[in-house]
């Protein structure tokens, strides 16, 4: 029996995983919730981030300033604070249905979480895009402009396709970051992976091991993912040499 393995362990033991047979489904749901939070928020962040990056490179100082201010605010304040302000502030005025998505994701908590993570992430992704755009050789823009294309046409047809290809690995890294950062959503009752650990810990009085267990899950997901991204990046760099 599984629980016999842990018969001699204290509630504070590092590897007291006796809760697993009963609570594994809670962790699986939490894991799914976490992945959904991370992927959806980064996906939602892409378009605003692109806009912010292009604004950041605009000739107009006001346009540049607006984007710069947004990025500064979201990069210089803690995510938990942003999350709280958006949850208790913005979504105080927006009524959300108390509907369950896939049977376990409460819309009225999930949406504020995704919005906060996406707004935060867009500030970071904007900087990724900005670097990606600046990394495209200026000769590309000159060639496009010399053919008579407008600056927006040059950006859209020549610069952005090359920039986006260059930043795909960094974008994937942002998802990895979000898988970790989204754990903060547990503070507002979103039933993601960290929340599952807290719940199990509180219910079973096994204080430590549920957190050890979720740490293992985070690691097993993120470490191979970032290694894979590194490998893709290396291959892309080799492909770029002409």
């Amino acid at each position: 029996m599984w629980s016999d393995l842990f018969a001699n362990m204290e509630p504070t033991s590092f590897f007291n995983f006796s809760f697993l047979p009963k609570y594994l489904p809670a962790f699986v749901k939490g894991f799914e919730y976490t992945l959904l939070l991370a992927v959806v928020s980064v996906a939602l962040a892409v378009i605003p981030a692109l806009l912010l990056a292009i604004m950041r490179l605009n000739k107009n100082r006001l346009v540049r300033g607006i984007s710069g201010a947004y990025i500064a605010v979201f990069r210089s304040t803690p995510l938990l604070v942003q999350l709280s302000i958006i949850y208790f502030g913005l979504f105080h005025y927006i009524e959300l249905p108390r509907h369950l998505l896939f049977g376990f994701i409460a819309i009225n908590r999930f949406i504020p979480g995704v919005v906060a993570l996406a707004l935060n992430s867009s500030a970071y992704v904007a900087e990724i895009f900005r670097a990606g755009i600046l990394a495209v050789d200026h000769g590309q823009t000159e060639a496009a402009r010399s053919l008579g294309l407008s600056s927006w046409q040059s950006m859209r047809l020549v610069v952005l396709p090359q920039a986006i290809k260059n930043v795909l690995p960094a974008l994937a890294n942002e998802v990895v970051t979000m898988v970790k950062e989204s754990s903060i959503c547990s503070a507002l009752g979103m039933a993601e992976l960290m929340y599952a650990a807290q719940t199990v810990s509180g219910t079973t009085y096994i204080t430590l091991a549920p957190f050890v267990f979720v740490a293992l899950i985070y690691f097993v997901i993120n470490y191979p993912a970032s290694k894979a991204i590194e490998a893709v990046e290396r291959r892309m760099r080799r492909g770029d040499k002409q």
Partner: protein, 248 residues
């Protein structure tokens, strides 16, 4: 081949950087007639590339005028994109679009600017590629091509816009020596066909043979301009004499 029919007329062009601390062009005036081939030569840093790049406003002049088909391009109210369509430009580093095939490189601008349908643009691109013997490369990406092939395709890309003038910014400087010939041959053919050309070059042999007029620049100013025979055989400006003694 030179005529009195002015296509481009540069008047008192000044280009300063860093609020006047660096003067790249100092009161340059130059005309280019329709069908004329003008070579710009001079030591590096002399401003010849800056002058060429000013012609289609890749460099924004500090003062002065650039008349192209009678319109002052330095005037801020001018829609420069429209005029650039008629001024083909070829760069030292080719600047082909690496994410597009050879065919797409050539057809992108005419299609995007709605000058041609996709079918027309592609037919013209194949015709141009055939002319330079690279029709079989239409589906390739630029990184599969040699430097000489890239530069000839860059020339064809500019030609696909049916320009009134072609601007060449050191088109052979980044090429391996064995590939210089194929690019110069293509440019020679263009000149023979009556294309108006302005060429910044270090190829003195090409300037002497193909240009109708050679312009020598030093320190941001035009120091001497003349027919190739006169300029190379009887240079008057001391800077030009010094320059020629080093490069010839």
């Amino acid at each position: 081949m030179a005529t009195n029919n002015k296509l481009i007329s540069v008047e008192h062009l000044v280009k300063e950087y860093n609020h006047g601390k660096v003067v790249a062009l100092n009161d340059c005036s130059l005309t280019i007639g329709k069908g004329e081939v003008v070579a710009l030569i001079g030591p590096s840093g002399s401003g010849k590339s800056t002058l060429l790049r000013s012609l289609n406003l890749l460099e924004d002049p500090t003062s002065g005028a650039i008349y192209f088909e009678g319109v002052n391009l330095a005037d801020k109210s001018v829609d420069i994109n429209l005029h650039r369509q008629k001024m083909g430009m070829v760069f030292q580093h080719f600047n082909l679009f690496p994410h597009k095939t050879v065919l797409q490189n050539i057809t992108m601008a005419p299609i995007t600017l709605k000058l041609k349908t996709k079918g027309e643009a592609e037919a013209q691109a194949y015709e141009l590629l055939d002319r330079i013997g690279l029709k079989d490369k239409a589906g390739e990406y630029p990184n599969m091509l040699s430097g000489g092939q890239k530069q000839r395709i860059a020339i064809v890309r500019a030609l696909a816009m049916n320009p009134e003038v072609m601007l060449f910014d050191e088109p052979t400087s980044a090429l391996d020596p064995e590939m210089v010939g194929e690019v110069l041959d293509l440019m020679r053919d263009l000149a023979k066909d009556g294309m108006t050309m302005a060429v910044v070059t270090h190829e003195m042999g090409f300037a002497r043979e193909v240009a109708d007029r050679v312009v020598f620049m030093a320190d941001g100013a035009i120091r001497e301009e003349n027919t190739p025979a006169e300029l190379f055989d009887h240079p008057r400006d001391p800077r030009l004499q010094d320059f020629l003694s080093k490069v010839l």
